[in-house]
């Protein structure tokens, strides 16, 4: 359970940092009046939707950290045999990276009020993400064709499980992205829409990060890294 504990430690660090700014040591019964509570302390000052997405990403992070924990614990048992990582995955990683870049361009363009570039970048981001999903499906077929079925080894099971779970999150993101893209035609490019574009990009970057983490896990680098750490410690 080490991965999830490290993850929670990070969350606790963020929560602790935030709490430390909330004057938890103050004696509230001695302070009255509204102006001791300065406006900037009242709320975070960030857009609510952004905070909401941030909290949601923490939940998604916890989910994948737990999968990673389970992966490591299951890996230690004797029957573990990792399947080869299909070459295609590297191409897919590149495509997902492009998708993330495209959405980042969309954010920059929307900030400059370049509505056409924004639309183009959003559509590029969406299409590349679809291409990523298609690539993932091809990778599944490739593995299955080579005889690495979901039930033939737990490592294979994790491969399908993790890539599938990640793919589902991309799919959910695509719904939001499609909605935002549609709005660039129907709504003016105001602060609200810009925020929407930004949130899509934020989600995409996070899922790219998750994907890289999953890939590192599946390619076996994570366990190599842990082995090195263990050797250094002992």
């Amino acid at each position: 359970m080490s991965v999830i504990l490290v993850f929670l430690l990070v969350i606790a660090g963020i929560a602790g940092w935030w709490l430390s700014q909330q004057r938890l040591m103050s004696k509230p019964w001695l302070e009255h009046g509204p102006d001791v509570a300065f406006a900037q302390e009242d709320v975070t000052g960030m857009p609510t939707a952004k905070i909401g997405l941030g909290v949601f990403l923490a939940v998604v992070g916890a989910l994948f950290a737990l999968f990673a924990s389970a992966y490591f614990m299951r890996m230690e048992l004797s029957d573990w045999q990792a399947p080869p990582v299909p070459r295609l995955l590297w191409l897919n990683t590149g495509i997902l990276f492009l998708s993330s870049v495209a959405l980042h361009c969309a954010v920059l363009a929307s900030r400059n009020d370049e509505i056409r570039t924004t639309r183009l970048a959003l559509i590029t981001g969406g299409l590349t993400a679809l291409a990523f999903l298609a690539g993932q499906l091809l990778a599944w077929r490739e593995l299955a064709a080579a005889g690495y079925f979901v039930d033939s080894n737990p490592a294979n099971g994790f491969f399908y499980l993790l890539t599938g779970m990640h793919g589902l999150h991309i799919l959910g993101g695509l719904v939001a992205l499609a909605l935002t893209t549609y709005r660039t035609w129907t709504k003016p490019l105001d602060g609200r829409l810009k925020l929407g574009v930004e949130l899509c990009a934020m989600y995409w970057h996070f899922l790219l990060f998750i994907w890289v983490a999953v890939l590192v896990l599946l390619a076996g680098w994570a366990s190599d890294f842990i082995d090195i750490c263990r050797q250094l410690l002992s």
Binding site: L5, E31, A37, V55, L77
Partner: protein, 590 residues
């Protein structure tokens, strides 16, 4: 310390919190059914949770009938008994307590108590309820599925959970249970985001964290924990579904079932237990922390005294929330995990007793030199303290690794967790309902029925679960539909079991009176007025009772003080509302 000069009080700048874009219902359907108003969603959540909780209550009667009078009821076969305990446990912990505290009380109280118009993501909030309802319906469907509901015990331990030796293991039961849990978690996440972000972002001007009522602190911290802990259950459920449906061996070792070699191999049942309890232990505090918070406010309000040691109470809530993530394996002392873990987890588990004890001290010290009104919420709060202290202390037996060895998996455990996370939080739920019903409906609950309900429930519940510890001490294992002829179990244990069953049935009957009261008082209850308990917190200061859509009329409240200004020396009344600028130059006591 910081104080305000009288002059500056008049120069309150307008609220800088931007108004939440309020959704406006257009029809009866969107007002009462597909509503995005947190208050309506709260009532939907609470109603559904209590309805399914009632099913679980009936299941507990059936179990008790079997345990008290084994062999009398032919239809309670061992299969049925295991299905009853499984559904009873899972419903009570997840679908009743979690949903009622967070979805019910959280939805109703958070926006009102922090001075917001509504939750920040009302649409997701509405979806949260409907997905929860779907989860409940899927769960109920398993009663009618071929093979009936799962009988794997609420812990759903593999391998037996998905094998044919367990009811529902190779039928629909376990599948529907897992699907239902996955749905619940998705729905809860949508609601949970709301509760957390509303507290973070939508507090009224002047509502600093240290001015939040402890109810909000409790629900907020519990929600944060739930958001981080439920994914563990999600992972466990998904992996078990893979094992059951796709034949993977995440949790399934090589095994021979009824003389037949299965194709599984190499998996680890302990892995499931780690995942399950990584959710399961925080879950205990996900239920307890809202109860802690609410009971603090009940005691303070009805003793007309500020909660003693508010800061300590806040710190303790945060500390318990954080610590509860590193104690999970105390449920697994005898699971066969590495024995050295026992040292670590026993230590962390007993450390968590310290902040918990501080909370108990502060509750009873709040009573000290108070002006205690023995209203129904106060009575239930007192009953909570008794049962919680009792159940918490037996937790010290089970948390202390070596003492747990003889007691684990006996009725002692059953008595312990029912006392501490069954009876105690339920007492708070009742107290809270008697306390806030006037705000929700505008009428008081009937007092006479309420007193009957209180006395029977409190004394009855104690009579059920206190003696049950001793059944466990004798060595009676849990999850036995009948004890049979067992030499070390004296006959008197059977008599005690019969007594417990009778007590359980009586307590169950008292709940019917409570339910009747809920409906009867809707029509015939005494008019309550806006603030019958003369409480300080914001939900009692709404312009309308019950609060209208948008909660606050034209202007959001401005908060001038903490939530506990009761019996302030020099004040004309024994309470000053949070949004009351108050008399000038009130003397302050350190």
């Amino acid at each position: 310390m910081v104080d305000v000069t009288p002059g500056s009080r008049d120069a309150v700048p307008p609220a800088e919190v931007p108004d939440v874009e309020l959704y406006h219902p257009h029809s009866w359907w969107t007002t009462y059914v597909f509503s995005q108003d947190a208050k309506v969603i709260a009532i939907q959540y609470a109603g559904t949770a209590m309805a399914i909780g009632f099913v679980a209550l009936v299941l507990s009667w059936l179990m008790r009938l079997q345990l008290g009078f084994p062999g009398t009821f032919d239809f309670i076969t061992p299969e049925a008994y295991y299905q009853f305990i499984t559904m009873h446990g899972m419903i009570m912990v997840v679908y009743l307590l979690t949903a009622l505290f967070l979805g019910g009380f959280g939805n109703y109280l958070i926006p009102l108590m922090v001075g917001a118009r509504d939750m920040v993501f009302p649409y997701a909030n509405m979806l949260s309820y409907w997905i929860y309802l779907l989860a409940v319906l899927v769960l109920v469907a398993s009663f009618f599925a071929p093979g009936g509901p799962t009988g794997a015990g609420w812990t759903l331990y593999p391998p037996q959970a998905i094998l044919s030796g367990t009811p529902g293991g190779q039928d629909w039961g376990i599948l529907l249970m897992l699907f239902s849990l996955i749905l619940f978690i998705i729905g809860f996440t949508m609601g949970g985001l709301n509760y957390v972000v509303t507290v973070l972002q939508a507090r009224a001007r002047g509502m600093t964290l240290m001015r939040l009522p402890l109810t909000v602190w409790g629900i907020f911290t519990a929600t944060v924990m739930a958001l981080l802990a439920f994914p563990a259950l999600f992972v466990a459920c998904v992996m078990m579904l893979f094992d059951r449906l796709l034949g993977t061996s995440f949790f399934m070792p090589a095994l021979v079932e009824m003389g037949e070699q299965l194709s599984y191999g190499g998996g680890s049942p302990i892995l499931f237990q780690h995942l399950f309890w990584f959710f399961g232990h925080p879950e205990v505090y996900i239920v307890a922390l809202p109860a802690f918070g609410i009971v603090s406010d009940l005691i303070s309000t009805h003793a007309r005294k500020n909660i003693f040691g508010y800061r300590m109470m806040v710190w303790a809530i945060v500390a318990i929330g954080a610590l509860s993530f590193i104690v999970w394996a105390h449920h697994m002392y005898v699971s066969g995990m590495h024995p050295y873990f026992g040292f670590f987890f026993a230590t962390t588990t007993l450390i968590i007793a310290v902040p918990t004890a501080i909370k108990v001290y502060n509750w009873v010290l709040t009573l000290w030199r108070g002006d205690i009104h023995l209203s129904l919420p106060m009575l239930f709060a007192l009953a909570f303290i008794v049962t919680f202290v009792n159940g918490g202390l037996t937790g010290l037996f089970l948390g202390n690794v070596v003492v747990d060895v003889p007691l684990s998996d006996t009725m002692f455990v059953v008595a312990h967790f029912h006392m501490v996370m069954g009876v105690a939080p339920i007492m708070v739920i009742f107290g809270a309902i008697y306390h806030w019903y006037p705000k929700i409906t505008g009428r008081m609950l009937n007092d006479a029925m309420g007193h009957f309900h209180f006395w029977v429930t409190f004394i009855g519940a104690y009579a059920i679960f206190f003696p049950m510890h001793y059944v466990g001490l004798v060595g009676v294992p849990r999850r036995y539909p009948e004890l049979g002829e067992t030499a070390f179990i004296p006959d008197s244990v059977h008599d005690l079991n019969a007594f417990i069953t009778v007590a359980a049935l009586i307590v169950g009957f008292a709940q019917m009176v409570f339910l009747f009261n809920l409906f009867w008082s809707l029509r015939y209850g005494k008019e309550a007025g806006g603030n019958p308990w003369r409480a300080t917190t914001l939900e009692w200061q709404t312009p309308q009772t019950p609060p209208a859509h948008g909660n606050w009329g034209k202007e959001l409240p401005v908060v001038y003080r903490w939530a506990y200004d009761y019996s302030v020396p020099g004040a004309p009344q024994d309470f000053i509302a949070q949004n009351d600028p108050g008399p000038p130059n009130l003397p302050r006591h350190a």
